[in-house]
């Protein structure tokens, strides 16, 4: 007979699947951060911490979307281009004098349509997700080019006026609440909501089940198509929000905004223990992964490493993280 073990809070937390990998990533984060701080004490400065938290927010959001998709065993290559399309579309609409809120709503609707298409292609028509989302990646990027006639937009305030533009930019990028940049708060709230959704709701459970064994899930009555569509809707929702942030940051629409972000999302998830094969990983890991990623980028910058070196270090990190998880799984 199984006797319930007396479990303390710590033990209970450690029993959450994926917690080990997530905490490992946090430990790595601390090591990396301190190491860079020793090389350049400016890394520890309050201003730098604020900037770090703000810039990691974009990677965190992309990482959340990508993690949802990866946990079902799929991938979303289109999310970076969706972010670009979102930035260009909101900016273009605002330069035409459309109210920022309405511009964002329209843009969001278009982004979610891409998510719906991704979900149907992968879930219903069983297209390999790599191919389906490669297609929508090009489509979204193409749309980003076309929407303002193949050029970047003017400043978003040209028609709306400086006040409206400022309030948009402050809301998403330059403003602060309780000493932290709004960007971080937005990402953090979205993180909490989706953390809850993935770990506490029925749909969240089904997402793990599909990634673990799609056949068993189907035989248990899980609606695989609907669940797959939901993951892509969430992914493109995150992409859209990142687009708003990019637009607010630049004060205009840039056609190349969000370029290769989809891969940053994969990296954030994978570093935090989200298996690209599906079935495991938690968003807390993605949070750590996004922070590791941003700290590396920031730290390498602060110690004056060239961009090339940065890329190489980051590449090694990603492969190492997956290698460690593969070896760990083999031992089990």
């Amino acid at each position: 007979m199984y006797r319930a073990r007396k479990t303390g809070l710590i033990k209970k937390i450690m029993r959450i699947k994926g917690m080990g990998a997530a905490l490992t990533a946090f430990a790595g984060l601390v090591v990396i951060y301190v190491a860079f701080g020793i090389m350049n004490p400016m890394v520890f400065s309050g201003q730098n911490i604020l900037n770090l938290l703000r810039s990691m927010s974009k990677y965190l959001l992309i990482g959340i979307g990508q993690s949802y998709v990866m946990i079902t065993g799929n991938i979303d290559l289109s999310i970076g281009s969706v972010a670009g399309m979102s930035a260009m579309m909101t900016a273009t609409l605002m330069t035409l004098g459309v109210n920022p809120l309405l511009a964002m709503l329209i843009t969001m609707a278009v982004c979610l349509t891409i998510g719906f298409i991704n979900g149907v292609l992968v879930g219903r028509f069983k297209l390999p997700p790599f191919i389906a989302t490669l297609g929508t990646m090009f489509i979204a990027r193409g749309a980003a080019y076309i929407v303002n006639g193949n050029r970047n937009t003017d400043n978003i305030g040209v028609v709306l006026g400086k006040d409206a533009a400022d309030s948009f930019q402050n809301f998403f990028y330059y403003g602060k609440i309780l000493g932290l940049f709004n960007t971080f708060w937005i990402a953090f709230v979205i993180f909490l909501v989706f953390y809850f959704f993935l770990s506490k709701t029925r749909t969240g459970r089904h997402i793990y089940a599909i990634g673990s064994n799609v056949e068993a899930a189907k035989l248990s009555g899980v609606d695989v198509v609907k669940t797959t569509v939901k993951t892509y809707l969430i992914s493109e929702f995150c992409g859209a929000v990142v687009g708003f942030i990019l637009c607010a940051q630049a004060g205009m629409g840039n056609m190349e905004a969000g370029n290769v972000y989809e891969m940053y999302g994969v990296a954030a998830g994978v570093i935090g223990g989200v298996s690209p094969l599906g079935g495991s990983g938690i968003l807390l890991g993605t949070f750590a992964g996004a922070a590791v990623w941003q700290t590396l980028e920031n730290g390498l910058n602060m110690i004056g490493a060239q961009v090339g070196i940065q890329r190489i270090v980051i590449g090694v990190m990603v492969v190492a993280a997956v290698l460690v998880s593969v070896i760990r799984n083999r031992k089990d």
Binding site: M1, Y2, A4, R15, K17, K200, T201, R202, G204, R205, H206, Y208, A209, G211, S212, N213, E215, A216, A217, K218, L219, S220, G221, V222, G279, S280, D332
Partner: protein, 500 residues
């Protein structure tokens, strides 16, 4: 004692591409009884139960559950109708924990939040009822198969099924667990559940069975009270009458020993397997599904890891760590699932035949000599009379029989000493089967040792010279094919280690 009819399936038929799996089968289940569904491999038992549980759609016939007629069921509807099935091949999400698996697709929620504590407690309650020591929070993938099996059973209990189908439920259980399972079955019976019990372990049936239904080759044969049959009658009904087909057996004198396996162990499915193959004979390997025959070939061929054991070829010990070692030594395998393991179906016949022989047709520079390649392929097509418009068409577009010949053709280009055929005639038509027999006979004449695995008893008895029977990973008997009877083979094939 006799309950009312809760399931009635009439005139059920079902075809898969190229196979008629069920032909006008009728089946009936009453409340409060254990119905044993018996038959050989491929008799259609699992297919019939998969239709009842909504996994497959029937082609024709009627299904009534609790008096209500269902046109076609999906798994969820079947579950709602009270039908729960424990599949033979376990279907679980290995990354999820026990409780999550038990409640998958019918999670308990509180508002929109999963009520994990409640599900865990319920899971624990059902596991305790089964008397198994499993933590509901344990990840399923980290549990042994026997425990996973118990979880499936607990899951079926937790849905309050009125009709419970168990497909080989005891194959992975220990004797204590089997006893627990049987007492659960008794309890469910007394609560009015109807239980369909599929098992090859005939010795178990006496403990629990009320009635039996016997199937053969996708057809209903007979049914009745268990007590009204003797074991011999049951076996006779399962295997059917005399063999009708003709098999082209040829006589050769048995020559010297070519190949020997001593004390081979590889997991639970290959346990202390020893046998030898001689020149001029075909050795048939009979047994039920899961007897460990395919696993034995995989261990010999170096696909799966061997725990211990020696392999001797022409009186010399050979070390085989991977398939390349085996091929170099002259041991080749035509695997069971030709679409999955035997052929690259998207490559051409040319590429398939050449693949394991590239060492012979490549120059020193590693460039494929196209002339030699063409020659090799054309020879294979001629020798095996593969029906194809040419060598540059996709192997996947050929008929099953011709695909099988391509698999064999891959190997005949080499001078092999041992050729292993694993179910070479599965799913191919009668004419092609005979051609495969001729190919095996030709190898036999050439003094090549032939190991022939088949689950169809008539062909093993008709083609092989000697029959080795396996059960549960062990060799349980060896028979002379000329004098062997189906009943004898089946007796050895069901010689499970007694665990009761």
């Amino acid at each position: 004692m006799m309950g009312e009819v809760i399931v009635s399936m009439e005139h059920i038929s079902k075809s898969f591409p190229g196979v008629r799996a069920l032909d006008d089968v009728s089946f009936e289940l009453r409340s409060g009884e254990v119905m044993a569904l018996l038959g050989e491999n491929g008799a259609g038992k699992s297919t019939l139960m998969k239709i009842l549980s909504g996994v497959y759609e029937k082609d024709g016939g009627t299904i009534r559950i609790m008096g209500r007629e269902y046109e076609n069921l999906n798994p969820k509807q079947a579950l709602d109708a009270g039908v729960a099935i424990i599949h033979q091949e376990l279907n679980m999400c290995k990354d999820l924990n026990v409780s999550e698996n038990m409640f998958l697709g019918r999670e308990h929620i509180n508002g929109i939040v999963l009520d994990n504590a409640e599900m865990e407690n319920t899971a624990r309650k059902y596991l305790d009822e089964l008397g198994v020591d499993i933590d509901p929070l344990e990840t399923v993938g980290s549990l042994p198969v026997s425990k996973q099996q118990m979880i499936e059973i607990a899951k079926a209990l937790s849905v309050n099924a009125k009709i419970l189908i168990m497909d080989e439920p005891t194959s992975a259980l220990s004797s204590r667990e089997i006893k627990e399972l049987f007492s659960i079955i008794q309890r469910l019976k007394s609560q009015g559940c109807g239980i369909v019990y599929i098992s090859h372990r005939l010795e178990e049936l006496a403990h629990i069975t009320d009635r039996v239904t016997i199937m053969r080759d996708g057809r209903y044969i007979t049914s009745g009270d268990f007590d009204s049959f003797t074991m011999d009658e049951i076996i006779a009904n399962m295997v059917g009458r005399e063999i009708k087909e003709k098999f082209p057996r040829i006589k050769c004198t048995r020559g010297k020993k070519v190949f020997e396996v001593r004390g081979l162990n590889a997991g639970r499915s290959v346990r202390d397997v020893s046998f030898s193959l001689h020149e001029g004979e075909i050795v048939g390997f009979a047994g039920l599904m899961g007897a460990g025959r395919t696993e034995t070939t995989r261990a010999i061929f170096g696909v799966d890891k061997k725990e211990s054991g020696t392999i001797i070829l022409d009186d010399k010990e050979v070390r085989i760590e991977n398939p390349m070692d085996a091929i170099r030594a002259g041991i080749v395998l035509a695997p069971e699932d030709r679409k999955k393991d035997g052929l690259c179906t998207k490559l051409t016949i040319r590429e398939n035949v050449a693949l394991p022989n590239l060492d012979m047709i490549c120059g020193r520079d590693g460039v494929i000599n196209r002339k030699k390649e063409t020659q090799m392929c054309e020879e294979a097509i001629r020798n095996l009379s593969i029906k194809t418009p040419g060598i540059d068409i996709d192997a996947g577009s050929l008929s099953g029989g011709n695909q099988q010949k391509v698999v064999v053709g891959k190997w005949l280009a080499r001078k092999s000493r041992v050729v292993i055929f694993d179910e070479p005639t599965r799913g191919i038509d009668v004419g092609a089967k005979v051609e495969i027999y001729h190919i095996m006979n030709r190898l036999k004449e050439q003094g090549i040792a032939v190991m022939f695995i088949s689950s169809e008893m008539p062909e093993v008895m008709g083609i092989a010279d000697r029959i080795i029977v396996m059960c549960d990973g062990r060799i349980t008997g060896e028979l002379d094919a000329e004098t062997a009877t189906q009943n004898e083979i089946l007796k050895y094939a069901t010689q499970f280690e007694s665990r009761l």
